[in-house]
């Protein structure tokens, strides 16, 4: 097997870069609407909270596993999603063992499993629901001004991420301690804030000024309901005004020519 094939296979198995990342595949769970997924999730969470006996915990774990893998998520995805809980599981089991000895093993394990199960519907929801689908849902339940701010936040994530990189690079050239290794040292945090955060906030202030001026110039936020700037409409209006101007100008020219003709006629008659 070639190196490229191995890389391809490894990429296929390790299908997500981070926990709860949306997976762009087709599955029965992907096809369920966001609202239904939330309802299913709520029912599942209620079940995860209420179970106490080993058999009922087993049943809920089974249902959770079916729901998770029905979304065509892999074991690697599962590891990515639940590895954060391992420390918490160890902590809770440890505390139970400390208090009750070996008798605390089952209650500790059960509680840890319940906590993981409680978050499974949320994880599956994020894994199978596109951001655009979430946004459409948000628009229905949120005032447009708040939704606008959320979209702005989304829009500016890459812009400010690039700005941060650029500012950090420029400041490092000037000697600021901003490399990832240097930032592990708390003494470098002063540089982080004075050389990176202040320029960043100033840039944010400037961008907010410009963006608000630009939006206000288009009449954004003047009405209680959402309005849209229509450049095509403005272009058509401009064209109409221009053609009207041309007509008026040609009419003026005609009037002027008629007047000149009359004046010339009167002049010739007089002479």
């Amino acid at each position: 097997m070639g190196k490229a094939d191995l890389q391809k296979r490894s990429k296929k198995v390790r299908s997500s870069d981070y926990a709860c990342q949306f997976r762009e595949i087709d599955s029965p769970v992907h096809r369920i609407g966001a609202g239904w997924k939330l309802l299913l999730g709520m029912a599942f969470c209620a079940a995860a909270i209420s179970v106490r006996e080993p058999w009922s915990v087993g049943v809920v774990v089974l249902i959770g596993a079916v729901y998770y893998f029905a979304a065509r998520l892999t074991l690697w995805d599962l590891w990515r999603d639940v590895r954060f809980f391992l420390i918490q599981m160890a902590l809770i089991i440890g505390l139970y063992l400390f208090k009750h000895g070996m008798a605390g093993l089952w209650p500790g394990t059960r509680t840890s499993i319940q906590i993981v199960l409680f978050f499974v519907p949320g994880i599956v929801f994020l894994r199978t629901t596109q951001t655009s689908q979430l946004m459409r849902g948000l628009r229905k339940i949120m005032p447009y001004r708040l939704a606008f701010l959320i979209f702005i936040c989304f829009r500016f994530v890459p812009v400010f991420a690039r700005d941060i990189r650029e500012i950090a690079m420029a400041q490092r050239i000037r000697g600021a301690r901003l490399s990832p290794r240097e930032l592990l040292n708390p003494r470098s945090w002063r540089d982080l804030f004075h050389c990176l955060m202040i320029p960043l906030i100033i840039r944010a202030l400037k961008t907010a000024d410009e963006a608000s001026l630009s939006a206000e110039a288009r009449g954004f936020g003047l009405r209680p309901e959402r309005t849209y700037y229509d450049p095509e409409g403005v272009r058509i209006q401009n064209t109409e005004v221009r053609s009207q101007n041309t007509e008026v100008r040609s009419q003026n020219t005609e009037v002027r020519m008629k007047r000149q003709k009359t004046e010339r006629k009167q002049h010739s008659e007089a002479t």
Binding site: A19, L95, L146, C153, I201, F220
Partner: protein, 188 residues
């Protein structure tokens, strides 16, 4: 066109709302960056508390931090950041509400070091409320809940206090250059 008309909640102008939206963007970016680099428990509170208190310093109006927390929570949830699913929103909104409440009673908060440290630590600790609620739902014994929350909250509070402690020097510099409203311009 009339300028400085309120855009949101009858309180914030479009410029202020955008600025607060940008603070939320910074929280999301730093959270994503730190998650890739560090993986220490509670570390996300460091930048979150910095920007929540900073937001209140930049826009000295009641609700500024809450708006930042709300937007950052929704965006983090939509980007699939954090393991808590929809509960992640509570983790953002509750510290923000605490900062707003504290700044309402003490408007000079963003420019004072000790109050910032105290508020940063306490606001970070409010994150534990979701943990307590979950533990109670799961039927964990009270004593174990207290121990569990103490352990998980200590790191958050330490990072939150450290993040908030860096705000006053930045706020004072921005105020000195008249880039943000000064102490006499409090509008809440």
């Amino acid at each position: 066109m009339e300028k400085n008309t309120t855009f949101l909640w009858n309180r914030f102008t479009l410029r202020e709302a955008l600025l607060l939206g940008f603070c939320a963007t910074f929280i999301v970016i730093t959270r994503a960056a730190l998650r890739m680099k560090l993986n220490l428990p509670g570390h996300s509170m460091f930048f979150m508390m910095f920007f929540l208190v900073m937001a209140r310093g930049c826009v000295p109006k009641l609700g500024a931090s809450t708006l930042v927390g709300l937007i950052a929570g929704v965006v983090s949830f939509m980007l699939g950041m954090g393991k808590n699913g929809p509960l992640i929103m509570a983790n953002f909104v509750m510290p923000a509400l605490f900062v707003d409440g504290a700044a309402f009673f003490y408007p000079a908060l963003p420019a004072r070091l000790i109050p910032c440290i105290v508020v940063g630590a306490l606001a970070s600790a409010t994150k534990a409320i979701t943990g307590v609620a979950l533990d109670v739902l799961m039927g964990i014994e009270e004593e174990i809940i207290v121990q569990h929350i103490l352990i998980t909250t200590t790191f958050s509070s330490l990072f939150g206090a450290a993040g908030a402690a860096l705000v006053p020097s930045v706020v004072r510099r921005l105020q000195a250059n008249r880039l943000i409203p000064g102490p006499g311009d409090s509008q809440s």
